[in-house]
Every structure is written in C-alpha cells, then in structure tokens.
C-alpha cells in the first residue's frame, strides 16, 4: 500500500489552499501536522476525492485515482466534528459501509461490526442512536465506521480535537496501537504537536498550503530545518527573539554568544527558544541573561507558565516545573542556555545552526 501526491494544487476563490504538494506515504500511520489554515483538511479531502485538485495527481498503489469518484474509491474518513447517520443505530452506522461494499461478504458483516465495536468499546451501545451518545462515544462510532471496511486509505481529520483531555489521551493510545499494524495508508491530521510526537510516526509539516518538511517527527523536533517547522512542533509556542550577527557573535537584547559558523556581519537572525529551555536561575556560566519583569504566572498544577516582559519590549514565556508563586511586576532575570537556542535566518527562516555550542565543538 502506498499513497503518492504529485504536485497537487488546489485553488479556491483565488487562494492557494494547496500549493504544489508532494507527498509519499507507505502503509501504516503518517501524521500531517500544521497550524490552523495550513491546508490539512484540504489535503485530506483531495486524497479522499471530496475536493478535486486544480492540478496534480493522486496515486494510490500505483493507480492514478485523481478523477475517480469518491464512491468508487477505497477510502474512509473521520471528521473533526462527529459525523454519524442520526437516523441509524450505532450498529447500522458501523455496518453501513460494509453493506455498500459489494466485495465484502454479507455473512461477515455482523462479525466485523461486533469486532470493531469491541475494539472501540462500543459493544454495549450498539442499539443506541448517535444522539443518545456522549461526544466521545459518537466519535468512537465514527472511527469504528471508518475502521470497519478494509480501505486502502484511512483519513482522520483532527479526530480528537473536539474531545475532552482525558478521553483524548486514552483514544490516542488506542489509535496508535491500532494503526501500527494497519496494512493501508493512514493519514492523521492534527494541529497538536503532542499528538504527532506521541505517535512517533513519519510526519509531514504543512504550512500555508505547502509541505514545509517531511520526515521523522522526533528528528524534526530536535533539529527543525526551518522556523515554520520549529513553531509548528512547539507547544507551548516557541519564543522568538531578534538577533544580529556582529564580530562573529550573535547579539540579542544586550546579550551575546558566539555565532554558529561564519556569517555576514549585520545579518539579521531570529532566535527560537522553547519555553522549557528558559529558566529564572542560572544553570551555567555561558547562559544568556535577560533582565525582565514578571507579567503573569499561570499555574496548571504540575507546572507553571511564567510570562516575562523583556526590554524591547519582547514577550518571553518560561515553562517551569512545579507550582511556584510569583507576583506580577516583580523583577526577574531570564536565563537561556545558548546551546539550546535555534538560530534561524531572518529572511527565509532556514535554520543556520542548531546552537552556538555546535560551532564551538567544531572549532
């Protein structure tokens, strides 16, 4: 099983929803991650055949299916909002794609429905109507329906986004186990980096209708090739600070550290710092220190998000472990280890170097 998108473009109302998207996915799970409006849904709809591409081809198992009607394709789709047939019971909802599939043996339907229902924990709810279910149960019904028929391509469009936190965690674990040995291609769209990282599957980062990067998600997280990718994979959001190259060093808001590699003096850079890399206690002699003012402390229980105002004025968020009390207006100093800073080119957002430390190592 393999899915290939060949330079797919979608233009709607004069806007490029998808721009020359190329993608290759083998059997098993592939995560499509991107912020709101990145084109995730459009991409999935093109693969399903619900939205015809303006140009480009969709190839499933070596066969060009670009012009093939949705009804004739072997795909399943799970929407972000729970979509089931309201007039049918859960059982009939799950059975419905099987009943329409002529290749599926009629006497196998009942067994398959019960099998999938058991997998999704719906066995006791088979007789109910979707309106009598909770949100989580409705979405599990939708997923069960999508899983029931052995489709070439299974598409999930942020299926867990509308569920509450606990249920999301649990379903995510279930899905991961389910997709691991799936023979078909599974495309899972999400805006949540934790989901993409949690699945640990190959990922495609979308942004502004283009593929920003594709590859191993953990690698991408550790060494984001561009600012877009780093921002997409960071939750809480990446802190961005302005910098400039001067005398072989990068200066940023009064602090400076050795520049990674030789760069044209005066070149503008953007420093990306993940919130958990910001501390308020010095951790090493090379730390960059920024005088700051505490604006707000959000305590979630096991962790504290500290919003700091740097001169500039610049906003910086520190993600600190544990519950800690701070008073707004209190002065503080934010410390960042330059080895943990991503340096991006100001103009094209490319990663210049992962960190200053790397340069030091290479002499």
């Amino acid at each position: 099983m393999a899915l290939v998108l060949d330079r797919v473009c979608v233009r709607q109302r004069g806007e490029n929803r998808l721009d020359e998207v190329g993608l290759e996915a083998a059997g098993g799970l592939t995560t499509v991650i991107g912020p709101l409006g990145a084109g995730k849904t459009t991409l999935l709809r093109v693969v399903a055949g619900l939205t015809p591409p303006t140009s480009g081809r969709v190839i499933v198992n070596g066969r060009d299916v670009t012009g093939v009607s949705v009804r004739k394709r072997s795909v399943s789709f799970v929407y972000q909002r729970f979509v089931n047939y309201p007039s049918l019971s859960v059982y009939e909802n799950i059975a419905s794609p099987l009943r329409q599939d002529r290749a599926f043996p009629k006497n196998g339907i009942d067994r398959r429905v019960r099998e999938v229902a058991a997998l999704m924990g719906l066995t006791d709810l088979l007789g109910r109507r979707p309106a009598e279910l909770s949100g989580g149960q409705q979405q599990r019904t939708a997923i069960a329906r999508a899983l029931a028929r052995p489709a070439d391509v299974l598409l999930l469009d942020e299926p867990l986004a509308n569920l509450d936190y606990k249920l999301r965690e649990q379903l995510r674990d279930d899905l991961r186990a389910m997709f691991r040995d799936s023979p078909g291609v599974v495309l899972y769209a999400t805006a949540d980096p934790a989901e993409a990282l949690g699945f640990g599957a190959p990922a495609v980062v979308l942004g502004g209708g283009r593929v920003r990067h594709a590859g191993d998600v953990a690698e991408m997280y550790d060494r984001p090739p561009s600012l877009d990718v780093a921002a997409t994979l960071s939750d809480p959001p990446l802190n961005l600070l302005p910098g400039v190259v001067r005398d072989g060093r990068i200066e940023c808001l009064g602090a400076s550290f050795p520049a990674p590699g030789a760069h044209q003096p005066g070149r503008g850079v953007v420093l990306g710092v993940r919130p958990h890399q910001v501390t308020i206690e010095r951790t090493g002699p090379g730390d960059l220190a920024f005088p700051a003012e505490i604006r707000l402390a959000e305590v979630t229980g096991s962790e504290t998000f500290l919003h700091l105002l740097l001169p500039g004025p610049r906003h910086l968020v520190a993600h600190l472990p544990g519950t800690r009390r701070f008073d707004p207006g209190e002065p503080a100093t934010a410390y960042v280890d330059p080895a943990r800073v991503f340096v991006f080119d100001e103009r094209d957002g490319r990663l210049l170097a992962e960190s200053a430390a790397e340069v030091d190592l290479h002499g």
Binding site: L50, R71, R73, V83, S87, P97, Q100, D101
Partner: protein, 290 residues
Amino acid sequence: MKRRPRAGGPARAVRHERAAAGRVRLPWARTVFWLYAATLMLPLLWMFGMSIRPNEDILGGFSLIPERVTFENYRTFFEDQAWYSSYLNSIAYTTLNTVLSLVVALPAAYAFSRFRFAGDKHLFFWLLTNRMAPPAVFLLPFFQIYQAVGLFDTHLGVAIAHMLFNVPLAVWILEGFMSGIPREIDETAAIDGYSLPRFFIRIFLPLIRSALGVTAFFCFMFSWVELLIARTITSVNAKPIAATMTRTVSAAGVDWGLLATAGVLTMIPGAVVIWFVRNYIAKGFALGRV
C-alpha cells in the same frame, strides 16, 4: 396543578423542569384562551348544527341545540353523484398535487441547499416570486393551454396548475430543513459508497421526515382551499367541491342544510392531515432554522 415528573429519563426531566421554571404564570390565561377558542369554534359548531337539521328549522328558529336531528343532508350528499364525486375530485387532485409537488421539490431543494451554480440565488428568488403573483393572472393561459393539450377538466391538470404555487413553497421549506443537515453526512455517505439516489432514500429522507410532513401539509392545504383556478380549468369530471357548493342556490331558494353538510365534510381531510403532522408544525414554521 401539581407537576409530576414524566417518564423518559433524567435528561427529559431536567428539560421539563427548566421549561417549567421559565414559564410565567398568568392568572387570566386560561379564561382568555377558552374565550378565544369559543369564538373560533362557534361558527364551526353552528355549521355542524345546521347540517343535522332540516331547512325549515334552520330558517325557523335560532338555537344552538337542534330540535329535530336528521341525517337527511348527509344522505343526499353521498347519494347525489354531483356532490360526492366533486368531493372525491377535490381529494384526488389535492393528493396528486401534494405527491407531485414533493417529488419535484425534493431534488430542487437538495440542489439549492447543496450546490453552488451560476445564478442559484436569483433562481431561488424567482421561484418564490411565483407565489407573489395573484393566481388570477394565470387563469387565461392555463385555460387555453389546457384546452389545447387535453388537460382541461382532469385531476392531473388541476394538480399541475396548483404546483405553480405549491412547488416554490415546498422548495423553500425543504431547502431550509436540508441546509440544517451537515454536508458531511452527504460526504460520509459518498465515501461509504452510497449512490446518490440510495443515499437520498436511505439516509437523507429519514433525517428530514418532519420537513416532509410539514411540506405535505402546506401543499395539501393550499391546494384544498384554492377555488379560482380549480373552478376555471374544470367543468364536470374534475370539478372541485367548492364549485359544487355554489349549486345549492336554486329556484326554490338556498339549500342551507346541504351547504352546511358540504362545509363540514370539506373540513375533514384538512383535520386528518393536521392530525398526522401536528408535532411537526411548530418546527415547520421555523423552517428548519431552529
């Protein structure tokens, strides 16, 4: 009045409580209601009273309770072919009209609700403007065309003529309901492999059941009460009951009893239809945009 919790589980009970809490108590509400209902019902009761007494009593006295009860008028109605056949004519073309209007309006409403095409909004508005023209405008064209194509004095002819104002109405009501059904349902069905007609019948129609009921009711009602067109394009074979009712004036005067009988009977089909769609009427007036 003491309110007892109804059956139907805690969810319904809660909704019930909430509705009860939001209700304002008006001390005179009951009295005003019955006064209003009595005012509405009086002419109907009077008509029923007239239909079960002889003509002399109708003209002779003035009382709500008849002195002599007779079903002679009803016997006349159902024995005289001119009467009962026109009654059946009305039922026939009205039913035919309701069915045809729905069959035509369903695909149209679906298209308006689901597809964007050049001039769709204008077309939708144009459809509604058909209801704005007085029916009399269409009398002559209908009369001449029907004479030419042989639809004159047929049930089908009247049904088609009434579709002129019933189809726009049906499309309008159905479109509102259909637009309330998420498009993802259509897409999911397509992905599941349903063909469009199959999806329409198996999945979609059950979802807009209430809309079907309401639309059928409106089509039936408008066709049933319409007299001008129905009378002009019929002569004998499809003559509506309302036209026959004008026959009661003769040299011997007006046959009040028979006229009242016809009046009572013309109300029955409407009442039957209302009984079936009574639960959907409120939703119908909201036109699906609840």
